[in-house]
Subunit: 586 residues, 2 copies
């Protein structure tokens, strides 16, 4: 089995030193969230994730969910663990105290999301969409629905799903066929089939609250005629008690490459009773409230799984002996961590992971500000940053998760390819993250066409970076690294101007460049995160010398060995799209 130790020290380093957004510090209700309190929460979180959740990862892979006679059974031990999980209040961490939540900021809950992803993605998915459903209901439903459903969801006794995909459409939701017909009591009857529904059915909760996209007859064609409905698995009476079964049934579950402990369901809606959430035909934008926060969390999943891959790789290199390193003196076989090439793999992992954790922490502050700051303009500005970086974090982190889990298999060699060590499972589990919640290509298109070209939010992000680093001159090394970043920022801006130029007549050039642009922005954002950590590390290096020197060293690695990747993406992209559009593929 794999090992996992929650990186609480690194998380506390960020919480203590990198709450660098002044607007975040102005949020009244988070002023009481002290370092000690957070440390306590993270220690508790570490404990349950290491001891209770992590063993479920392998169990779920070895004994996947079972579908029998219309019923879905979760893997052995999941039920008991889930009970402990909700009893300890982990589903309620970031929810509103009004509905029973603990009101923690995203800065803290994101650390928890990472730990849970590291421990077992399959187990995580049972509660993850509940938080999505919570957010969607909180922001778009009326008070009656909120009061009836939110406390149970926050408590974890009921879970949630997002029902978007149908067999003919995943990316292109305008093609949805599920119908919703209005009943005389104001409710709707939904009929249709949804596929790829994560946690669509299972035996961990008393009820499952489906958030379903459907079309009301007569609605406009395409995405402008989609409405959002709340459809419970079991009807809920006025008192909030669970009653008769609603018209939702499970037709099958998928046999998948990974996350086998999580049921991915085909759901059939047959005159299922549902309630409109938000306005008619505005369902897609309501669903995006849920989707956008979910997308960040998918990125965090990639980060979390990468962390587990790194920890196991590191441990293996410290016990496996093979070959002789260049400075071998005694003629005996060395631990493989002595080999430069193995160290390069470990540093790839470490420098990307720690950079991502820092970027995620920065983004969490932006999310907190966008949701909670008293000034509307400040909220709006933060929301723009969230909107810009959401597709980046979703795609870049999930892609890097693939690279890192792949690299872990390679470090383990033959032992990485056999199933008993659990290493190859990390790749398989993570392989869904570049696909679900909008494929990474869709994210890249969203980033470039909606955020960079239309909303011009990139310039704001770049100003933020430039303002931050312009004074990083007090140490030679810090200055060297910030000069490297300045070069890469220049290239990012050149790239965005190239995109501008192509907007009028060469849209295919842009479409073919979106993925590369997302990667370039991702690496620049990581560089920015590393630079801030380096600054703090220099400033504090007298205190916890080992920790801060390692940070500075890892930053150097990132700038010298990882950032050159930017150039290839840029040069490949600006070569345009002529040859690929001309191809006949004969």
């Amino acid at each position: 089995m794999t090992i996992y130790n929650a990186p609480v020290e690194d998380m506390m380093f960020l919480f203590d030193n990198l709450k660098d957004n002044k607007n975040y510090k102005e949020i009244d209700k988070f002023k009481e969230i002290s370092s000690d309190l957070v440390k306590d929460v993270l220690d508790q979180a570490a404990k349950i994730n290491q001891e209770i959740v992590h063993p479920l990862a392998k169990i779920g892979d070895d004994s996947p969910c079972v579908y029998e006679n219309g019923i879905v059974r979760s893997p052995p031990g999941y039920k008991e663990a889930y009970k402990k999980f909700i009893t300890d209040g982990w589903t309620s961490l970031s929810c509103d105290p009004k509905y029973g939540g603990q009101g923690m900021p995203k800065t803290v809950s994101t650390f928890f999301e990472e730990m849970l992803s590291s421990a077992s993605l399959s187990f995580k998915l049972y509660s993850e969409l509940s938080i999505g459903a919570y957010n969607c209901i909180l922001h778009h439903a009326d008070d009656k629905i909120k009061d009836k459903f939110l406390p149970k969801i926050v408590e974890g006794k009921w879970s949630g799903t997002m029902c978007l995909t149908e067999s003919q459409c995943g990316t292109d939701l305008g093609l949805i066929k599920t119908k919703a017909i209005k009943n005389s009591d104001g409710s709707f009857s939904l009929t249709g089939q949804k596929i790829f529904i994560t946690s669509g059915d299972h035996d961990l909760t008393e009820n499952i609250i489906h958030l379903v996209l459907a079309k009301i007859p007569g609605a406009p064609a395409g995405t402008k005629g989609i409405s959002l409905f709340l459809v419970p698995k079991f009807n809920v009476d006025e008192s909030g008690a669970v009653g008769s079964r609603n018209g939702v049934s499970t037709l099958s579950i998928e046999s998948k490459m990974g996350i086998k402990g999580s049921p991915t369901c085909v759901l059939n809606f047959d005159n299922a009773k549902g309630f409109l959430i938000g306005k008619e035909n505005k369902g897609l934008s309501s669903m995006f409230t849920m989707m956008n926060l979910e997308r960040i969390i998918v990125g965090i999943q990639g980060l979390g799984i990468a962390e587990t891959a790194y920890q196991n790789s590191l441990a293996y290199t410290r016990e496996r002996k093979q070959g002789k390193s260049n400075d071998n003196k005694n003629g005996e076989t060395d631990l493989i961590i002595k080999h430069a090439d193995i160290r390069r793999s470990l540093m790839n992992m470490k420098s990307i992971i720690e950079g991502q954790r820092s970027l995620a922490f920065w983004l969490s502050q932006q999310v907190d500000v966008s949701l909670n700051h008293s000034n509307e303009n400040v909220r709006k500005e933060a929301d723009e940053m969230v909107s810009l970086m959401t597709p980046v974090v979703k795609s870049f982190f999930s892609d890097m998760g693939m690279e890192i889990t792949n690299e872990a298999i390679q470090i383990f060699g033959g032992y990485g390819y056999t199933r008993d060590q659990g290493i190859e499972q990390l790749y398989r589990d993570n392989r869904i993250t570049p696909i679900y919640e909008g494929t990474n290509s869709v994210q890249a298109i969203d980033l470039v066409f909606r955020k960079v070209l239309t909303n011009r939010t990139l310039e704001k992000f770049v100003s933020l970076l430039q303002n931050e680093i312009k004074n990083y001159n007090d140490k030679v090394e810090l200055k060297r690294l910030s000069n490297i970043l300045k070069e890469k920022i220049k290239l990012l801006l050149d790239f965005s101007r190239w995109l501008d130029d192509k907007l009028k007549n060469q849209k295919d050039d842009i479409s073919a460049a979106c993925n590369d642009f997302l990667k370039v922005l991702g690496y620049v954002a990581l560089g920015y995160s590393w630079l801030k950590m380096t600054k703090v590390s220099f400033d504090n290096s007298s205190k916890n010398k080992n920790f801060y020197e390692e940070k500075i060293n890892t930053a150097k690695y990132f700038f010298d060995k990882i950032l050159p990747r930017i150039d290839s993406h840029y040069h490949s992209a600006i070569a345009g799209s002529e040859s690929l559009m001309k191809a006949k593929f004969n």
Copy 2:
């Protein structure tokens, strides 16, 4: 299930137009291998691989090999298919007619290896090591052993294995513990345990011939004291008949990420009777005869699986509708092949695959010359090229196989992640190729330290390239592409000079750069292959217009969109190793 259509047209294009090695043309015995004959062989090969072998891929994944009561059973249908396979003579394709082989050159058998890899890697592995064993016995055993074992191996009635790895050593064979004690009759008794033995036991053949590395007591320590033995599963009497069971038993088979239809065995040798092959203590170099050709084939496996991934992706993009392309005019949903980003993915695949096939064809000519040319110097020169490019083909092709199968999953989206389509299986099956027959890192170290720094074979390869392309001036586009390649060759030479500089005092810099160097050389070699294909395509474009124009277009894509990757590898590598060697990983 996946589809597969053997790319016979592309293979014949290479055979007809790119037998560009004059030494190859001088090999007497291959002069009669006409284009018509090869076309006929490839058509037959396509038929068996498409119809008989390809369906076994999914079967093997769904119903893996079973180990029960010491016996290994292959998946359903494998036995019948194997019988047909050997009856039709496919195991004997490139073997010496003296032992019943068909005497085909590697130029042809490599095409067959690719097809078989595309069709089912698991099924392929049952016969693949037989050819390895054949080569090893042919080159190192005495006539008595050759006469006794080779005809049965060539016929496919007996199969072969390579028994190197033990639990404490894969990469570092100096640590081998298996012992061989000499018997009075000149044979040896072998005792020890070998792991990760591909096709170590199964029910497809009457006998299994293990080639085993072991140490004779008193032998020098490390790799200089390893001998090679032939150890049959069943003893073979003087008449060549299969007799009593030898002291080799199967302890277990691995549960693996992929190639589940191929048994990976733990073998126990308990006073098993074996015969020395070659000289005492020289076993490793004999084994390398087998290993080196095997390594090329592992690269071909990556190419073959990538081809299947590409074909399925292409077919899917021509049937799946989603979203609207930039030039959408009718407002209806487009096939995804209309989207620029999808076309980019397809062109990545196509340009890398066709370039690799061409490079493999060139390398096959070198292998044929190195084994068959009448002039010893010519043989030696060709062997140097083989030796240089073997680690490149092994690592680069297997790594590109990962990239391409990963990209195929992404094109299929959610349907790529579920098991029924067979797409994610391509990734899992291919994931072993960067590991076995020497991990890709070991290949990179071999390339740089043994071939580039010690034997200076890189210069010879580069001269070959420069001589070839210096006259590519007759078309504007050809000249443009050759200028790009010239730049990249310059960078390759700069890189190799940088390696030279570091040899004395900074070996860790070299070790940390080996992987990047291998990639740079791989991309340059692919550029060279593409350039030759482009030249031929321009020269012939009046004949088969569609085919040749597509080749030229794909070449442009490769040069403009793929080759920029070289720069990042170079710049990352020459940043050195200081930070990674200093890291404490605390």
